[in-house]
């Protein structure tokens, strides 16, 4: 895995984490409009990053979640393996 791919994966991790955190907050505060706006903005950012990653390196998610399946899902490194 080259530096560029690792940097993109790091960005995806950051955007996903922000979405997870805002999602949990919105579970108990579903009427909070400011938090929902934040969530939507990070969700858009995450979707754009995932699309860029998928187009360049293949899908991160299976079961039809990623639009493009180059067959590389199986062969890409498993996350517990050292890079």
């Amino acid at each position: 895995m080259d530096q560029e791919q690792m940097a993109l994966l790091k960005k995806i991790g950051e955007a996903r984490f922000t979405c997870v955190e805002l999602n949990l907050y919105l579970d108990t505060h579903p009427e909070d409009a400011a938090a929902r706006a934040d969530f939507n903005s990070y969700s858009d950012k995450l979707q754009a990053l995932l699309e860029t990653y998928t187009n360049a390196y293949g899908p991160l998610m299976n079961f039809g979640q990623c639009a493009l399946d180059t067959g590389s899902y199986v062969r890409s490194p498993w996350p517990w393996e050292l890079m």
Partner: protein
Amino acid sequence: MWIYEKRLEYPVNITRPDLRMAKLLMAQYGGPDSELGAALRYLTQRYSMPDDRVKATLTDIGTEELAHYEMIGAMIRQCMQGATCAELDQAGLSGYYTMHDHGVFPVDPNGVPFTTAYIQCTGDPIADITEDMGAEQKARATYEHLMNMTGNEQILEPLYFLREREVVHFQRFGECLEIIQGIQNGRSSCSCRNARRRRP
């Protein structure tokens, strides 16, 4: 339905074996306050909750716990990578090796296997959410004990992240408790799509 994303929630890169910590990390993989226990506890308790916000919280925190179970599994795997039988023996892992080799099996540091006797689902929302708040504090304390036992930066960094998540989850469960108490005391109404159709 669950979808798998082929990456860890937070990176784990332990480049040198650390068998002592592999053994201790099993507390959070297969112990009573482990990530596995947390995921099963929350995903099991969802069904009997009276409010949609609480169902959502248990579903989403339960899902995040599965990602933490994967992180701890990755940490144990990397801590044991390349270890010889003699090294495993010296680290007190000969019994573990005999039964599991370099596999990552949910036991606690003393080799006691995971059991659902560690969790409860009473069907009583107050009792269950209060258990969940206690579970988050017990996991936080366990992470602090683990951090006290190592100076290995590659292990400490993901542990800082995991400890912080316990604090956030405790906060969310506290809000769930307030929601349920508000409904039971008649102070607030139930946020539930099926409220009118519910049987007494």
